[in-house]
Amino acid sequence: MGEAIVITSGKGGVGKTTTTANLGTGLAHNKHKICLVDADIGLRNLDVVLGLENRIVYDLVDVVEGRCRLRQALIKDKRYDSLFLLPAAQTKEKDAVSPEQMAELMGTLKSEFDFIIVDCPAGIEQGFKNAISGADRAVIVTTPEVSAVRDADRIIGLLEAAEVYDPQLIINRLRPDMVRRGDMMDIQDIIDILAIPLVGVVPDDESIIVSSNRGEPVVLDQRSRPGQAYRNIVRRLEGLEVPFMDLEQKTVMHRLRTLFGIGGKR
């Protein structure tokens, strides 16, 4: 019996879809059988991030409404035979699916896959309610910004109300240089506020955009720092203890400040 993990954030544009694609690819790379579900009906993007947009014939709504069998709608990844995508419908409304239908679908998928990773739409309306329906656990993506952390806090509350317990946190787009200058909240600041366990920190890096341009998840890029961060998260999702990356690339100035005892806050 597999496990359904919903990737959510409340705020849009913090990297849910990128995170979903990378975690799914990383888990498939480690030989797990994975199904990615794009729950963002009407604004699908996971297909494009994975470079599978031209293979879509049927979608989630078609499955739920019985126009096709589940197998017909599942799209096999280009690189991994054990990675599948269930795409969202692009031309339908968010309320084309009900939470009950989603929960049923999750149940079916869990009997066939090790992990089902659901890319949740931004917002807290119907699409969110559908996406978390049937989820066993949640991973919340946030960025070190006031608005994103605030929305993450709201989402944590809503998940509790929906009885999805023990969410984990991914801090995305962290810029160590800005943290060092004191112009960005650091990891500890955010954990203090949200009070949920951290599952990973992904540094902001150009390689993310380059790989999304190519439709190749950055997790496969061995030299990329965000790629390494995603690989670590994958291992943690598998239940392994992996130490957190040292994102502070220490500079001479940083050492000096530490020496004087005025900087170096962590």
Binding site: P144, E145, V146, V149, R150, D153, R154, G157, V179, R181, G182, D183, M184, M185, D186, D189, I193, M253, R257, I262, G263
Partner: protein
């Protein structure tokens, strides 16, 4: 450059701390909100309890959160028609 040196030695007054402080206030407010459903049930419970001691103007009862700069209070405005005597 001067700005940079100032930043180095000032320690606290940087934008990160502003972000934290603003976030703290925002969350105090956010977390202190009840859904309309819960607020309505709080209202009902208040009426039930208060009715033991006094006759109140039920439709005039207002319950809401009052959000000031850095604190949140639950404020109830309860018009009283008649306080009950012990022998009532």
């Amino acid at each position: 450059m001067l700005d940079f040196i100032m930043k180095l030695f000032r320690g606290s007054d940087n934008s990160k701390d502003q972000a934290k402080e603003r976030l703290r206030l925002v969350l105090v407010h956010d977390r202190a909100s009840l859904s309309p459903g819960l607020l309505e049930s709080l209202r009902g419970d208040l009426i039930e309890v208060l009715s033991k001691y006094m006759e109140i103007d039920e439709p005039g009862l207002e319950v809401d959160f009052d959000r000031s700069e850095d604190a949140v209070a639950l404020v109830a405005n309860i018009p009283v028609k008649r306080v009950k005597r012990e022998n009532d």
